[in-house]
């Protein structure tokens, strides 16, 4: 199983990597549209700062891909997502969302395709009640009220929060608040969801529900997910991991390949996966090579148990 998943990811890598940029010019139009986000040579510096927060990043993201962006604090992860949503303006370089280069005029349309779930659930709640908050994005689009009522109900159903419709945010748990935030984002029917450390302030249970929800929604709604995280468990779900350091991409690979780095992971602001740590402690007894999935580890441990 391990082998098949590995070979699958390897074939994916060799199929996708490094080909995007050059191929875009030659591929037929249908193929080009596959890149939902296309970032080219983007630089950005915060006012008053000497260092570039985003220092020449080029990146293509395919539709329905789940991308994790990792890196230490201050490596430019959040800045990059803000640039994608046009919340900050690039100093140079271009960002294309769904085939349209974003500028002051097109950004409002681009934002309809992107939903961001932020880190602190309390700091993104605009409405006085759950339903009001979900409706906020729709109100901004000027959607007629009758349609809005349906859209709000649907969005709340998707995150299983319809029973909390009339509640005020203060009475919800952190995980519930984030689910409402996700509903608010889903209501506008985005193509891309950006999770900006959305689970970092939640308890393990809240984190699990939010992550499972996003995974389920991705397949149901055909969403592209960009997740900024420090949590290794979360990156396991992604198709691709981008490691940023000082505003540059230092690695662009798949989870298995990244976890192979072992202790070096801490340099990127990640902890080693639990399975790696167990395997490292048992190298004398079992033959481990590189990264091992949870199932792989269980198989190996059962094998070990049988040998005794």
């Amino acid at each position: 199983m391990l082998v098949t998943s590995l070979t699958k990811s390897i074939s994916e890598i060799s199929g996708n990597r490094d080909t995007n940029l050059s191929n875009d010019f030659f591929l037929p139009k249908g193929e080009q549209m596959e890149n939902i986000i296309s970032i080219k040579d983007v630089f950005y510096k915060y006012p008053g700062s000497d260092n570039y927060a985003v220092n020449g990043i080029s990146l293509d993201i395919k539709a329905n891909e789940w991308i994790s962006i990792v890196g230490k604090n201050g490596s430019g992860k959040t800045t990059l997502t803000r640039l994608i949503d046009g919340l900050e303006e690039c100093e140079s370089g271009t960002i294309e969302i769904d085939g349209v280069v974003t500028d002051e005029e097109t950004i409002w349309d681009a934002r309809k395709k992107i939903g961001i779930v932020f880190q602190n659930p309390d700091h993104q709640f605009v409405g006085a009640t759950v339903e009001d908050d979900v409706a906020f994005g729709l109100e901004n689009q000027g959607m007629p009220r009758e349609q809005m009522i349906n859209a709000v109900d649907n969005a709340l159903k998707m995150v299983d929060m319809q029973d909390f419709k009339k509640r005020d945010p203060q009475s919800l748990s952190g995980g519930q608040k984030q689910r409402v935030a996700i509903a608010g984002v889903l209501a506008i029917k985005p193509q891309i969801i950006i999770m900006d450390e959305s689970t970092s302030m939640l308890d393990p249970e809240g984190r699990k529900t939010v992550i499972n929800l996003i995974e389920q929604l991705r397949s149901e709604q055909n969403l592209t997910v960009i997740s900024i995280t420090h949590d290794i468990e979360e990156t396991q779900l992604s198709d691709r991991i981008i490691v940023l350091n000082s505003g540059k991409i230092v690695k662009d690979t798949d989870p298995a390949d990244l976890y192979n780095l072992g202790p070096q992971l801490t340099e990127f602001g990640l902890e080693e996966p639990f399975t790696n740590l167990v395997a490292a402690g048992l190298t004398d007894l079992i033959d481990f090579k590189g990264y091992i999935t949870e199932e792989g580890l269980i198989d190996k441990l059962c094998e070990l148990n049988l040998k005794r």
């Binding site: 934002r111 932020f118 605009v126």
Partner: protein, 266 residues
């Protein structure tokens, strides 16, 4: 903070809860106006009966209203005492130095006391039965004509509703900061008045800083959800004017008529 009844909403359901918040808002101000029309025992008694009737219909426990008086207690006592002892009269019941107690003075003091009770009860009734967001929606709706003179009504209303939404969050924040300072040895409950006030300065600064960071986060979140400015937005919450609101207006007209009648009845 928990003891403050004024400005607090109490979840419930009754006729008063279901009235259009705009009407409730306007009636409250209207009532505060007509309280000053009352000029004799009968008219004050009538207004008291009206307020108690409204409290009864609202199905809110009268105790909440009496508790609501508590923060105003000293103000009421002071004003009433002032009226009672300083009303000049030719026919004093009791006299000492500059203090005079007379029948007229006592009557005026009683009226003033009644005014306090009536006004506090009716405004407490408004806030207990109307959510802050309904009040801010009412204000928006009532101020709508000001759009004609380019007054940003929708923006102000959104500002108001966000401010209301963040009050509990800022209270949490304050508690957190106070706990953090207590942990480092600050004592907020001791010393003279000046010392206590001084102890609050180190709370205000971190509170300001964190308010700004919350405001920044919220602004980013709002922009990412497509908030441009107040224009071109639709509204999810709507206020519904119904038949019972019409009947309430008729009722208020009757109340006013009876009040005017009692007033001229000397």
């Amino acid at each position: 903070m928990d003891k403050l009844i004024i400005g607090r909403y109490l979840p419930g359901d009754s006729l008063i809860y279901r009235l259009d918040p705009r009407l409730k808002f306007l009636i409250t101000f209207y009532f505060i106006g007509i309280v000053f029309l009352a000029n004799n025992v009968a008219s004050y008694a009538f207004l008291l009966v009206f307020v108690l009737f409204a409290v009864y219909v609202s199905k809110v426990n009268l105790l909440f209203f009496i508790k609501g008086l508590r923060p105003m207690f000293w103000l009421i006592l002071f004003t009433v005492a002032l009226q009672a002892f300083f009303t000049p009269s030719n026919d004093p019941i009791w006299h000492w130095a500059f203090l005079t107690l007379s029948k007229d003075g006592l009557v005026i003091a009683a009226y003033i006391f009644m005014r306090f009770i009536l006004i506090i009860f009716i405004s407490t009734l408004l806030t207990l039965t109307t959510t802050p967001i309904e009040i801010s929606d009412s204000i928006e709706s009532i101020l709508k004509p000001l759009k004609a003179v380019k007054f940003p009504v929708t923006q102000v209303a959104l500002m108001l509703s966000i401010a209301l939404r963040f009050v509990p969050l800022l209270i949490d924040e304050t508690t957190k900061i106070m706990d953090a300072q207590r942990a480092r040895g600050v004592d907020f409950g001791e010393g003279g008045l000046i010392k206590r006030i001084k102890a609050f300065v180190p709370i205000l600064i971190p509170l300001f800083v964190s308010s700004f960071s919350i405001a920044y986060d919220l602004a980013i979140a709002m922009e990412s959800r497509g908030y441009k400015d107040g224009e071109g937005r639709s509204k999810y919450r709507v206020l519904n004017w119904s038949k019972r609101d019409n009947w309430t207006i008729v009722f208020m007209v009757l109340v006013t008529a009876i009040l005017l009648l009692l007033r001229s009845y000397r």
